[in-house]
């Protein structure tokens, strides 16, 4: 019987057309759709599969404003048992250490055997929240995990390395793992699951920033990146654009 905590984040949908605020403080959020961060969906899937194999409980934890509730409900509909929503408005300015501190304090009484999270978020992409959380909670961790095997009180893991290499590692429980995308097939929520989710417990707590956050970092400005190359981009009717491109490829780049 394992208690598994899966830390998930809600992020703007992948195909969003992003626009920067006129002041450059942040992106315009009003017309965005949101979804679960992709690697976090794989962390949830891994957690649910481990629970199905060895029994136990899957608790979902997420920080963010009220809109995050929809992503939490979806995780419950897929099979998580209960959830903790740490309500926080300014997730953008918080940075990974502050976010991890808030999560760590919410998990103090939970004492999970295993914490899973995605290896990075598609919005900020720090790739750090999980590792920082492990350090704050005094747990061993491993990152970019493709496969998890539980053997009693220890884990045998497949980690991804660069250039198509992998590595096996072993570590004791309790532990924290950050999961890579693509290692499993994601399940869909069933109608039954969606119905059941409505009765599952979601504990909402206020995200209070603990004292002594130490040095942090501040996002001063966001903006669209410029091109590093002299790109020639064609748009308009596909046929005309294609003709222009082929001419360039033949006479300028000479690759045809």
């Amino acid at each position: 019987m394992m208690k598994i905590v899966v830390v998930i984040k809600q992020v703007p949908a992948r195909d969003s057309f992003l626009r920067v605020d006129p002041g450059g403080a942040w992106i315009q959020e009003s017309d965005l759709n949101y979804e679960i961060n992709e690697p976090d969906a794989y962390a949830l899937e891994a957690g649910l599969q481990l629970k199905e194999k060895s029994g136990g409980e899957v608790v979902v934890v997420s920080t963010g404003p009220a809109r995050v509730a929809s992503t939490i409900r979806e995780a419950l509909a897929k099979g998580a048992d209960r959830a903790i929503h740490i309500e926080q408005e300014d997730v953008a300015g918080a940075g990974p250490l502050a976010t991890a501190r808030v999560i760590a304090s919410a998990l103090e009484t939970e004492k999970p055997d295993l914490i899973l999270t995605g290896l990075q978020s598609d919005d900020f992409g720090y790739g750090q929240t999980g590792v920082i959380l492990a350090e704050l909670m005094g747990l061993p961790h491993a990152t970019i995990i493709m496969n998890v095997e539980v053997n009693g009180a220890s884990l045998r893991l497949k980690r991804e390395l660069e250039n198509g290499y992998f590595q096996h590692v072993e570590m004791p429980l309790p532990a924290l793992l950050t999961m890579q995308s693509g290692s499993n097939k994601l399940r869909y929520a069933t109608l039954m699951g969606i119905k059941k989710a409505k009765t599952k417990e979601v504990r909402t707590i206020a995200g209070v920033q603990p004292e002594g956050a130490g040095t942090s970092i501040r996002i001063e400005r966001v903006y669209m990146p410029g091109s590093s190359k002299q790109s020639q981009i064609f748009d308009g009717p596909p046929r005309e654009a294609a003709a222009k491109l082929v001419e360039k490829l033949k006479f300028e780049a000479r690759v045809l």
């Binding site: 703007p12 195909d15 057309f17 992003l18 992106i27 940075g95 250490l97 991890a100 290896l119 598609d122 919005d123 992409g125 720090y126 790739g127 750090q128 590792v131 492990a134 350090e135 061993p140 961790h141 491993a142 970019i144 991804e160 390395l161 660069e162 250039n163 198509g164 290499y165 992998f166 590595q167 096996h168 590692v169 072993e170 570590m171 995308s181 693509g182 040095t215 970092i217 501040r218 996002i219 001063e220 966001v222 990146p225 091109s227 190359k229 002299q230 790109s231 981009i233 064609f234 748009d235 596909p238 046929r239 654009a241 294609a242 003709a243 491109l245 082929v246 360039k248 690759v255 045809l256």
Partner: protein
């Protein structure tokens, strides 16, 4: 501002990104210290001593023979306390992703990860998989921590010189190392060598479904090109893994690389940005792939690709 560069080696072989970080540090400020970590690292330390540096710290201990996050964090923390750098720089490798946030946290600091540029006190990193840039400033007291994106600085711009090698033996106990690293392996031999292809047509998630792949395959056929793909396409099993381009797949540099429905995440770009001519087809004019493209068409691939095939047939 004094800088400590943490290099990366495995089994006596460099991760070449170490030299990009070294070059960046030399451009930033002086003095620059460098650290190399492991066992049997004398030769590597000597090699570093041939660069313009304040000192090379050879961090060695039997418990550092194989990389572990615990061992590296504890050892580097002790080195940082000794050297007191104001800025600690890493190459943004998988290994750095694994231990640097832990190290920074143990000193109550935040690592600015995956930095692409620096202007004065401002570090630039990308958000939303490269769609947005952010200027970031450190607040509070040093040491500050940053990791640098692959290819953001050039390894061939390091400055030669000479530096003393200073051995450093951290205090480590076996029980402090909680993770046990085992074998390193590859899944299967690669049957396809994309490195030899002159033209590559690469497809991404914009294709939507496996059933749509023939649209792009036809383009490859008329060009006599090899097919490749972004990671999600291979994860889904729509194309074999051996055709994946990027940091966890192959690195290619053909005469022409045509990216169809690929957004241009950095993990994809590192595998193809050395291509001579890069063409991108994407319906999002802000897709990061256009930043590295020589030519591009903004539009729906299901309209653009058939039109392109027709135009190519005319000139071939």
């Amino acid at each position: 501002m004094s800088i400590l560069v943490v290099t990366e080696q495995r089994g006596g072989a460099w991760n070449r990104m170490s030299f990009e970080t070294l070059a960046a540090a030399q451009q930033f400020e002086k003095p620059v210290h460098a650290a190399v970590i492991g066992t049997g690292i004398e030769t590597l330390a000597q090699e570093l001593a041939g660069y313009q540096l304040e000192a090379v710290h050879a961090v060695s201990h039997p418990l550092l023979e194989h990389y572990t996050a615990d061992g590296y964090s504890l050892a580097l923390r002790q080195l940082i306390e000794k050297v007191s750098p104001e800025l600690v720089l890493f190459p943004h490798t998988y290994q750095v992703r694994d231990f640097a946030p832990k190290l920074a946290t143990s000193l109550n600091r935040v690592l600015v990860s995956d930095v692409v540029a620096r202007h004065g006190d401002v570090f630039v990193r990308q958000l939303f998989q490269g769609k947005i840039n952010a200027d970031i400033r450190f607040t509070g007291e040093p040491p500050f921590f940053a990791s640098l994106q692959a290819g953001a600085w050039r390894a061939d711009q390091t400055v030669a010189g000479s530096a003393p090698v200073v051995p450093f033996t951290p205090e480590l106990k076996p029980e402090q190392i909680r993770v046990k690293p085992l074998d390193i392996f590859r899944e299967a031999e690669r049957a396809v060598d994309l490195g030899a292809a002159e033209i590559i047509v690469s497809v991404g998630r914009g294709i939507k479904e496996a059933d749509n792949l023939p649209v792009v395959q036809k383009l490859a056929e008329v060009l006599g090109a090899e097919m490749a793909a972004s990671r999600p396409i291979c994860d889904n099993g729509w194309m074999p893994m051996e055709r994946q381009v990027g940091s966890s797949g192959q690195t290619v540099a053909p005469k022409m690389y045509i990216a169809v429905g690929i957004s241009g995440a950095i993990q994809h770009l590192v595998g193809m940005k050395g291509s001579r001519t890069i063409v991108a087809i994407n319906r999002d004019p802000e897709a990061p792939i256009f930043e590295v493209a020589d030519y591009g068409i903004v539009g729906d691939l299901f309209e653009v690709v058939p039109a392109l095939i027709e135009e190519i047939r005319k000139v071939k």
